[in-house]
Amino acid sequence: MDFSFTAEEERFRAEVSAFLKKEITDEFLRDFEARGEFDFCPEFTKKLAQKGWLAMAWPKEYGGGGATIMQQLIFSEEAGYFGAPTGAHRQGTNLVGPAIIARGTEEQKKRFLPPITRGEVVWCQGFSEPNAGSDLASLQCRAVEDGDDYLITGQKVWTTNAHRAHWCHLLTRTDPEAPKHRGISYFLIDMKSPGIEVRPLINMLASHDFNEVFFDGVRVPRENMLGEKNQGWYVSQVTLMGERSGIAFPAMCRRLLERLIQFAKETKRNGEPLAHDPIVRRKLADAAVQVEVNRMLAYRVAWMQHKGLLPMVEAPASKLMGSELMKWLTALAMEIMGLYGQLQQVSKFAPLRGQIARMHMYSLGMTIAMGTSEIMKNIIALRGLGLPRG
């Protein structure tokens, strides 16, 4: 057992952290937030590409950095800590890219992977539908064969960045007669294709992040199918395996906690610093404990991947705890700030760049997206503990 990193890994961490500290200043974040953005910054994506850190854990032959899982973990931890925006590339580097590496043809790899590693392309994920959320396999978006192409008709929802994506990776139904998991095919679609309509959905933060996307007889060449026909579900399982440590949550929480501690030391209520209030002390200490436990669970996922093991249950456990922790901690932050916690704008009255309420509202989506907490618990129980299906 060894909880330390190698000297080489520590050097890498120092390098990443110095870079991020320099780039992600409060000013950068303020500017970025003023544009109504939370996570989408193509300029920053390009900078990471220049450092060779975009697809760092991909094999070198596909334009990746050939980095180890541990280095990827370290980078992700530092990126989460500094609040680095990864929204303009994460879909490509972490989700569709690894799926193409695992199941794509050589042709597809040559065509799609390099632009991802260069930070030149934004991807969106066409998976969820109005009637297919947690029960994703029940999706209905239809793909019908037409000569050398397929024609796609249907609707997707919660499609983050569809309004500015170049490409979409899409799950469709190619065989409505087959059992639901076995009639799904996976396509890579050019968002400039005729017949695609993107309609904005404004989230409760008043941000335009995700969308409804309508496909009306959209023509896709056969070569854009990823994996075999009707095998798309199984390809998507690879997609959703991505970089699963979930380290971003405890990393973000650790930063928020540090800021809260500072806030507690500097802010007085009734003549005493908040840091002297036993209730505040207890809650912040409790937060520190939970963050550390969460960090350990995330490290464990990465370590398993490093050893070539599949973290089938450990990854959901990390996501479950991380997303719930983020919700709990941002709520605690609002509580500690009292009335000031509800201020959103950056003004002389709003502590911590006025971002606390925003972070808490955003966190409500985190226990739902990428697998709800309830689904995570189902996976742990059914696949991990072997409990019987209902």
Binding site: F3, S4, R281, V289, A317, K377, N378, L382, G390
Partner: protein, 377 residues
Amino acid sequence: MDLGFTEEQEMLRTSARDFLEKECPKTLVKELAEDEKGYTPELWQKMAELGWMGLVIPEEYSGMGMNFLDLVVLLEEMGRACLPGPFFSTVVLGGYTILEAANNAQKKELLPKIANGEAILTLALTEPTATYEASGIKLKAVAKGDGFVLNGSKLFVDNAHIADYIICVTRTKEGANPEDGITLFLVDGKSPGISTTLLKTIAGDKQCEVVFENVRVPKKNMLGELDKGWPVVQKVLEKATVALCAQMVGGAQAALDMSIAYAKERIQFGRPIGSFQAIQHYCANMATDVDGSKYITYEAAWKVSEGLPATMEVSMAKAWVSEAYRRVTLLGHQIHGGIGFCMDHDMPLYFKRAKAAEPTFGDADWHREVVAQQLGL
């Protein structure tokens, strides 16, 4: 980074689990909860023959020369088995205090006895003040002649009634700082003036009130330096806290395993109760609590084993595990329904141990305060 155990540690775990499953069945655990002594010499001897008492004692003193992390593996299995008896007080509380503070002559005298299972020890630390702060130490040791005279009382002392040696934490000097003026003495358990009363606790573990009335201790029985005993106590408490967490982790895993097994076999409404989502989610929560407990404990154990500063991690571990073990046993009871509520079921063994462990070596709030201080609040 390596979050796995070595092959040797895995072998230790497997052999300990197999041995305890055979030699320490729950029937024995329940018997010993009612028995005054609380252990059987036969089982004690067998454990000694396996080298368990001397696991972390250096080879030169008849020990196995293994490290704290190895002991943690063993303790986890002991927690799983609910092993009763004076192993913890002898090896962790007694053994580590001697390793930390004793001089060569004392080590030579005592460590082989511990390793061979020939001596039972305990640490008399807490008093009716019921705190782990130095300010709680009021029992006085006054220099007299060529020794010291001890007066006062200790409470919640493990196995004092069967201990061959009681290491007593005394106050030898009053001052502004309560952490100054504390001295440790190795007291013969049969010394005149010691009266021990067994306390009835829910977990059936043998905790005692120990009253010291003019108990004479020779000077050569001082462990470490006069007035400078508190840092030793702190170091031992650090190890004891993590050691307890390891036992708790083992117990929590056992409670989870039992609950899963029951959820699969108990049929209601025509199907196993484990096919209902509420039960599935309980189990998933328990699994996350158990896993979190493991890794936060291992992190602390590794740091302690490596001799790295670990104050923060030790307190984080105890704060988390105290409450996680509690949550796990509460859900375990909920899953088992009525039968779990019966005396002859095994689940209450874990629940009671979880409750006993909560305040031992500092409860979650106490440790959260340590964390708060470490965070600079």
